[in-house]
Subunit: 407 residues, 2 copies
């Protein structure tokens, strides 16, 4: 059985001072009908991600910020780590330790959470050891302007109520638009073109491909999965043309040629761009390729680190296509994993991977950062389609994005 992907889990971050009992709270949530699926331990100052199931929210990712507050005060590293967590948080829980009560730590973190408009639950833990009167609870709550719930992670008191609060607070739009479900009707057939290259791990499909098949099944549609070489034969084997052909971006040229012009064609990257982020911003980024000048700085950003192939898309192919498009050299920089570099205003373009390992909140945050800095941002798939001159056709299922390209 495979886990729900990280990017499809509601991200719940637990904040609190070192002795507030964050880990005990997570354990208490876990033991109470929440199955702990997996643990990815971080280094000392990295947060720990715990994949769990909370019904009826579904699969969640609990972010234990245990490591973050170990330095005692809001040092630079601590602030940076906290900001990184906040950039991917869908729902925050602030845990207050009753011996010291509300301190500057809680005030700061609540301010940061509120600044981002994130839903937030506040609890006072350890009420079995430090019984907290309703008056104190209410005065601390006023201090933070946040309703506080008294709990004991140790005895389990208040845990069920906290879960109900979390369920109520959980935003219902955190998942974004469907990957493909809203583009099909029951009974429709969609052809998925899945090239098998050296980068494809043995015995597996790439995550967005699996998610697309699943979304089609969830919407009573049928997925025809085929390599690019067998596409023509597969199309000819269908009595009626499919509703849509979705291809890996790297096979756009061949698939475009083999797909009859009356059949809509798009790519996994474009589906993911819409599902995870903001297709319109990325289409505007694709248009900006035309304005690149020789020597311009271009940032290539990948959401995860992966084993690089000789003909790696981020390292080799995209720089080659952009150079060909500009007709001269460009000044490339690369970054992967964590976050953007501190000063992105110096770039004339940011090229981002599809972000299959990032959650939507973090992808939207990166797009917002680029917008704020006035830097166009495009993703791999849109870039590939654009430099090969087929982005317009690939946007046919998305008329608004197509209009932005036409402007």
């Amino acid at each position: 059985m495979q886990d729900t992907p990280k990017g499809s889990r509601l991200h719940i971050a637990i904040f609190g001072r070192r002795n507030a009992g964050k880990s005990s709270l997570i354990n208490a949530l876990t033991s109470q009908d929440i199955a702990l699926v997996s643990d990815v331990p971080g280094t000392t100052t990295d947060p720990v991600y715990k994949a769990m199931e909370i019904l009826p929210i579904g699969p969640v990712m609990i972010i234990d910020t245990a490591g973050i507050d170990d330095v005692g005060d809001l040092g630079a590293l601590r602030v940076e780590r906290t900001m990184q967590v906040l950039n991917k948080t869908d729902l925050a829980v602030v845990v207050i330790e009753p011996e010291q009560g509300v301190t500057d730590f809680e005030r700061e973190i609540v301010k940061e959470i509120r600044k981002r408009g994130l839903p937030m639950a506040g609890v006072v833990n350890k009420i079995d050891l430090w019984p907290v009167t309703a008056d104190v609870l209410s005065s601390w709550g006023s201090d933070l302007n946040l309703a506080l719930l008294g709990i004991s992670a140790k005895t389990g008191q208040g845990i069920e109520e906290l879960k109900r609060v979390m369920i109520k607070l959980a935003p219902d739009d955190w998942e974004g638009p469907p990957l493909i479900g809203d583009l099909v009707s029951p009974g429709d057939t969609v052809v998925l073109v899945v090239p098998i290259d050296l980068a494809a791990p043995k015995g597996r499909l790439i995550l967005p491909q699996v998610q697309t098949i699943r979304d089609l099944l969830d919407n009573d549609a049928c997925a025809v999965v085929v390599k690019e070489r067998e596409l023509k034969e597969a199309l000819e084997g269908l009595k009626n043309p499919p509703k849509l052909v979705v291809t890996d971006s790297q096979e756009f040229m061949k698939v475009g040629a083999d797909t009859p012009s009356e059949v809509q064609l798009t790519s996994f990257s474009i589906l993911l761009a819409r599902h995870k982020g903001d297709l319109e911003t990325l289409v505007a980024g694709a248009k900006a390729i035309e304005s690149l000048q020789p020597g311009d700085k271009v940032l290539i950003s990948e959401g995860c680190t992966h084993h690089r192939q000789a003909d790696d898309i981020g390292k080799v192919k995209i720089p080659r296509w952009l150079r060909q498009s500009v007709g001269d050299e460009l000044d490339f920089e690369w970054v992967s994993g964590g976050t953007f570099p501190p000063d992105i205003a110096k770039y004339k373009l940011i090229v981002h991977c599809g972000g299959c390992m990032l959650n939507r909140r973090e992808m939207l945050y990166r797009l917002a950062m680029a917008r704020e800095a006035g830097v166009p941002i495009v993703n791999y798939g849109l870039l590939i389609a654009h430099v090969h001159g087929i982005l317009h056709r690939a946007l046919a299922p998305f008329p608004l994005a197509q209009m932005i390209l036409e402007e």
Copy 2:
């Protein structure tokens, strides 16, 4: 990007006394062009599994037996843990520490490895600290009747040679027959029926389904993926009947009715049974259901622990079908994860899950254990097909297995 599944990785176990430098050796192998993909830390006495890539073997699972030898001598727990590791080992590496040289530990472990006919490499580590003469190396080698290679995990001396030895020793039949690749020709279409029930994690497909799609693509075939409700429509949408329909076992009845009788039909469980183990043994186990008597002990064994649904197949459905088949009560016991209980001879039937999380070596070992104890063993999928009277049809692609059923 998804990892290669655990079950599709060559399992390499590293054995040696506590101070032999097993972990350093694994790190040395890792830093030398081997990418560490993930780490699953075990408890103190559990071995640690490290998913890696060793070219040209491909994806491997290194089993670090660090915890096993911590008790100092071959105590009962240590022996049990060692045996459990050996049951899933495809290739063994014995690491000798040169200060003490060959001891009873090495003699015992080499004997056990040899008893199982497993390929084995032997190394003497730490030769940077304890230079070992060719004479000593050869005399220790004679003691174990095993060619020994002097290495230093610390300096890297001999690591490349060890990798060449490992690659040479790696058995080439460890993967077993293909999942489905040998049943299709290029251009064939196979319909995969994938029900979406509550047990299917959001955004995912079950591992054998993904592996089947991938194997079809690897063999230039086309996969039509559909839910059971849309199967009829999908079949009608094809100009020619598919080569094969593969269904989830739980939908055998409906899919059998909706698939024209001239189209071959089988299940993911049957494909997996052949790929991972021994289809003929399991078919003989299915036949044994007919001989069950009221009150007989039946063991239901699952290879992994998973979140149970209300109508769980192992806990609820299979006991119900078996009771209906016998027409009376049976005495069920359940086991999951690790291994079989010590005394399996008392059971009249073992019902095993498909074993998608087990590697082939371990599945073959479990089948061998059942055969030795004279206990018939069947898996979930074959049992379901048999109690519903459609096993004969589902075995059509496998004539030998079909003959065993007819006997």
